[in-house]
């Protein structure tokens, strides 16, 4: 049934008008193969997302959140629906959010998800909308969203129906919730979230208000009871089980609590709607968000239409023509995935949780964003936003500098006001520098520079961003065992490579701000990578504190997310070419251009390239740094697109990383890629589509392709273009980029 549903959607994109790019998005792409995207209803950069939850409660689940490390509320091959999560992350590798689970059931009331879960069919998903038919109950469940609120519509069969809110479960590993009855049709409360990537201290609350559209015939709380023993157990009727609180009307707190609404005497086809507002500040704000974004009498379909309109506006900033329909679908779905994070965290009144000052609230007159997975997104996603969505990127830059003002440091992997310190490096620097260098300057650059300089120069343990800055500054590299005492967990080379890249970017900003000394200092530091180059292995290679290389050494160690000394989530091959700011210098170390090209080609040819993670994500573009080798970039990018980016549910090579994988596909299909974060350049490749129009703050950029094959000639505006690496300014000034392709390289 599901494939039929997909087919039905497929036919629409083919005839989609340019105003309806949402028709070309398939939210099921990336929902298996660890893409960890989901088909839930969400708006562009929305705080709210309404996501089908199918990763618990059934032994038939292929992937179960409680049986393994699992990081998404939805998996394509699972078959056991236990409700809608409200608020979720897309494309991440650690469990988080995915809580506030609503569910509709019929018949006798049960509040145990193992019992109330159901198989399902007829799943449909499009931007801002999801629906599914629940087999066990004969209920059609539909969901849509605004930026900070949700709407669900349940179409019941005749009889008794129930709406449940389960606050005990969720994707997050944190627990503890409170729910309070406000009226017969409204409840409010809070649930604790956090421990992202098993960071035990990084917790934060979500607040909610929930309304049902019909006055229930009965309602109440539930809570799982602690298990008692002996005579106490004998006397306690609900011992160790869920207790329904039938006569209780104040707030209920606990680890595993919930609330149900029952509706007797429903007519066949009768619809009951659920509306929820959320906030990360307070229940009052959750209510304000709901009231501000949904008129009390707004029909479900109007909210759905508004969500769709928002997506068409956002996706429609890029209009493509030509290419196969599947390619358009891959493209717009990738663009869709790239427009989910960072997402709004400020409420309609501008309030948001202050960074790392849990319990305190700030107010913005713009928008505050969260979910800065910067080790990932610094590479291309923010560059995409800078080019096409500068209005949002500007608020994100302000969000990041705001975090510095509140906490003293820029974010690394920020999550709802908490710095989780996930992955490494100093990735806010390239993001901010990149925007600045491309002319997006409407933020407090002095403050930002102060922040960046602080993390680049503060020595010792008080440096929260670069915990191993001392050897990095003193020796120019980070030796094995400095940060992680256990060699198996050492990621020293990865740390240093991120700092090199960040310092190269920082040097550009310093120069731009007239800080010549700083510029020279940081540029010099960015070249410390050379010390890691081992002529023997032909790769970068971990160094001992005494300056000798790790030995024995296997450059393949660390493949497929296994652990290997020096490298994080990758092998030496995945990292060796990751010096985007000094590719020529690296080539020189390797013995020159030819050797560099051959070695890089070998990485692709011999399966040493990892398409599922970020360190080597720009590798394919590095060929184009060398005249005459650009065809290799064009060949490899085409191959990667064809192989890893498809319309199938496994059509993303791995974790989408809050849109980073997708942003690679978007840029690559358009024919340009920002291959060195911080440098205001794009490297060009053969585009997928015959024509693309991209709205920018400086007018519409048109990209045209004539013919197929490899790039033969290029024109910018009306002038021939020789360079395959082009300045952002130049590109926008040119206004139109034309590729003439021909078969044969």
């Amino acid at each position: 049934m599901r494939s039929l549903a997909l087919l039905a959607v497929l036919t629409l994109c083919l005839g989609a008008r340019a105003q309806e790019p949402a028709e070309c998005v398939d939210p099921f792409i990336g929902t298996t193969n660890f893409g960890t995207t989901n088909p839930g209803a969400v708006t562009p950069h929305g705080m709210m997302s309404v996501v089908p939850f199918n990763v618990m409660g059934s032994e038939e689940n292929v992937y179960d959140k409680d049986a393994r490390w699992w990081s998404t509320p939805y998996e394509y091959h699972n078959k056991f629906f236990t409700g809608f999560a409200h608020g979720a992350l897309s494309g991440v590798g650690c469990p988080e959010l995915g809580a506030l689970l609503t569910m509709a059931t019929t018949g006798p009331l049960t509040v145990d998800y193992r019992e109330y879960g159901t198989s399902y069919r007829d799943e449909k998903a499009s931007p801002g909308y999801y629906s599914v038919f629940l087999d066990k109950y004969g209920v059609l469940a539909e969901a849509t969203a605004t930026a900070r609120s949700s709407a669900e519509r349940y179409t019941f069969p005749e009889g008794t129906g129930h709406i449940l809110l389960n606050l005990g479960e969720g994707l997050t590993n944190e627990s503890g919730a409170m729910v309070r009855r406000v009226s017969a049709t409204e409840i409010e409360g809070t649930k604790l979230l956090g421990t992202f990537c098993y960071n035990a201290q990084k917790v934060f609350p979500v607040y909610f208000v929930l309304r049902v559209s019909k006055t229930p015939s009965a309602s109440g709380y539930w809570k799982k009871q602690r298990a008692m023993t002996g005579v106490e157990a004998e006397w306690t009727p609900d011992n160790g089980r869920y207790k329904l609180y039938m006569e209780y009307g104040r707030e209920l707190s606990g680890d595993d609590v919930g609330y149900w609404f029952s509706f007797d005497g429903l007519a066949a086809g009768e619809q009951v709607e659920v509306r929820m507002g959320i906030s990360y500040v307070s229940t009052e704000n959750a209510r304000k968000n709901l009231d501000a974004e949904q008129a009390a009498d707004a029909p479900f379909d109007a909210i759905r239409e508004q969500a769709r309109k928002g997506w068409n506006e956002a996706l429609g900033r890029i209009r493509v023509e030509g290419g196969a329909e599947e390619q358009q679908r891959v493209f717009y779905t990738a663009l869709y995935h790239a427009l989910l994070h960072p997402n709004l965290v400020s409420d309609v009144n501008g309030e948001y949780p202050l960074m790392e000052r849990s319990g305190e609230t700030g107010v913005t007159d713009g928008e505050r964003y969260t979910v800065f997975s910067l080790w990932d997104t610094c590479r291309n996603l923010h560059q995409l936003l800078t080019l096409v969505y500068p209005d949002r990127q500007r608020e994100m830059l302000r969000s990041m500098t705001g975090m510095y003002e509140e906490w003293g440091w820029l974010p690394k992997w920020e999550l709802y006001g908490r710095e989780t310190f996930t992955m490494e490096g100093d990735p806010a620097i390239p993001v901010i520098v990149d925007s600045w260098m491309k002319g997006l300057r409407d933020f407090d650059v002095a403050k930002a520079y102060e922040a960046m300089r602080k993390s680049a120069t503060t020595p010792g343990a008080q440096n929260r961003m670069r915990p191993d800055i001392d050897p990095y500054i003193e020796k120019g590299y980070i030796p094995l065992g400095f940060y992680a005492k256990d060699l198996a967990g050492d990621t020293s080379v990865s740390h240093a490579l991120e700092y090199y890249m960040a310092d190269a970017a920082l040097s550009l900003l310093a120069d731009s701000l007239g800080q010549g000394d700083d510029a020279r200092l940081f540029r010099a530091r960015s070249l410390g990578y050379k010390r890691y180059y081992s002529p023997e292995s032909g790769t970068l290679r971990p160094l001992h504190p005494d300056g000798t290389f790790l030995s024995p050494f296997d450059p393949k160690a660390g493949e497929n997310f296994t652990a290997a000394p020096g490298f994080h989530e990758g092998s030496a091959w995945n990292y060796t070419f990751y010096v985007p700011h000094d590719v020529e210098g690296l080539a020189k170390l390797m013995g020159g251009r030819r050797k560099f090209i051959d070695k890089l080609q070998m990485v692709f040819d011999e399966g040493l390239y990892d398409p599922a993670n970020e360190p080597d994500i720009a590798y394919a573009y590095l060929f184009s740094r060398f005249r005459g080798e650009e065809w290799r970039t064009q060949r490899e990018t085409r191959r990667l697109l064809e192989r890893y980016f498809t319309t199938a549910p496994d059509g993303i090579p791995g974790n989408d990383d809050t849109g980073t994988m997708s942003a690679w596909a978007v840029f690559t299909m358009l024919g340009l890629y920002p291959d060195c974060p911080g440098e205001p350049y794009y490297t060009l490749t053969s585009p997928t589509f015959d024509r693309a129009e991209i709205d920018t703050e400086r007018g519409t950029l048109v990209i045209e392709k004539h013919g197929e094959g490899y790039i033969d000639r290029m024109t910018l505006g009306d002038k021939p273009l020789k360079n395959y690496r082009i300045l952002h300014d130049e590109l926008l000034k040119g206004g139109k980029l034309t590729f003439e392709l021909q078969t044969g390289k």
Copy 2:
């Protein structure tokens, strides 16, 4: 050490001035032998009590709340202190309240009570004050209270100290709590209580605000983590254990949560104080209660002194002279225990939880009381309050009629706005009638009569107070198996006996209100007991629906709280004489006065009397209904006092039943007892003291005793008194009751 402490206190009562009756109270009396009183700090009828908690966490505990049915936060022979509970019940038989546990520790922080609990010594307790020395920490812990708030003072040794608030544990079997940091020195929150006597639905929240007197060097939350399995367990550092939340500042909810304050660098002897306000309405009210009852700069000793003063005022309404010092101690301790419940539930602003309308709040311009254990207290405790504390009894009458207005029924066993339906009968009726008949009439008697009439006449299952009213009205008795289908759990005779007693009382009120028909109807119903009399067994005896007696039948079955058909918590012997409103009629059934006397005497002589429960509590006074047999009352009451009411920790015969056992002792030692609830009479016995002065609303009643032995002559005012049963009005009008005793009956 403990016995020495007691001795130190003992010496004080001997020389106590009349203004210091609190010196004569030993709060350790009743703290073992299932008396279930406690030595905590409390004020008369206070909402707050601060009770040492020693019934969990150690395998050396003689009685452990988690190993058996257990109903008090403190047991005399246990030795493992885990903190102070805030809010507790005294003398009950089911686990409830005893939560909001504060604890002081030193050294490394641990929040697991199994680890932080400690042995102790130097316990001291007096009205409104308790102190103990914590061996493990060298900390002196002291506690005192106001009506709605507490103060604790901890004297630390040099070094690091901690104050903990444990919201996960408590005597109550309910769980779930929320705590929120308000400032560095203040937290607030709520915890769910309830399920008294395993009534799963009868739950209610307590709200609190807690302040520490010193700014902590660190503070934070804790929560026990759910146990995960497999890879999740491996990655979760606190899996299944208590997690300390070091960076979190919003509210925390969960089953097992708490908050700690740490104080580094304490000087030797430095004191840290803890103040807590509670409310059953809201955290705002908890704060108002604390602020209203404790000036911000009120020293601990001033609060302690205020509590003591309150007790001296309350206890000092009865002033006794003569008797052994131990007897004075027994007397004032009994009076102390009789002045704990019902207790205040209204806040300083008059707000209180509406009866059985969970979540709704009422406002009183007087005082709202709770903990109406009426099956117990209808027999004598409210009679004591009516005589000596009419100001409080009046508010209790208003509280009871208020409950009717809010819920539609008078209370039976009311607990913080919930009717727990514990035990049986219609016991609000005798309480209200008794007060009315004694002239305490400043309440809405029309409303009260309406309420009483409703429970006495509403047929069928809609009668919440008398679930088996149908056969009671139709047949005049309740047959086996009507209420409890399982004969082993049947308590039909007990039910009916309570209704007879209540209807006899109601008949008095009807008559007083000029409702002659009602008076006759209810009086007639009150005599239905006769049907239960079995000449064969010589006892009351359960009846089958067909009117035949249960057979075979053992009148001793049901002794010692075992189960037996027909009778609740007692044997046929414990119930057979329980017809206080028609003793003569019962005697007639038994074959006349002589047979009645002999049989009643046999009950005492052959150990068939149960001094630990209420059904036979007035038995000793029934002799005096027959001229010439009054000496038996005097002998048995003296024997019971001597044997069961002592200054030892086991000096109460069983559950004090919210002061009912103690009220028996108070009345009996004074020489008078209200042996038929509702009838405005006292039956006289030989008093314990040479002289007693009792403050009443109609002046001071003086009771004098001359000589020892049995009563020879009595004088009321200046007139000889012949009757051993005397009207309340007559007694107060007389003003002085003199007993002339002589040895030999």
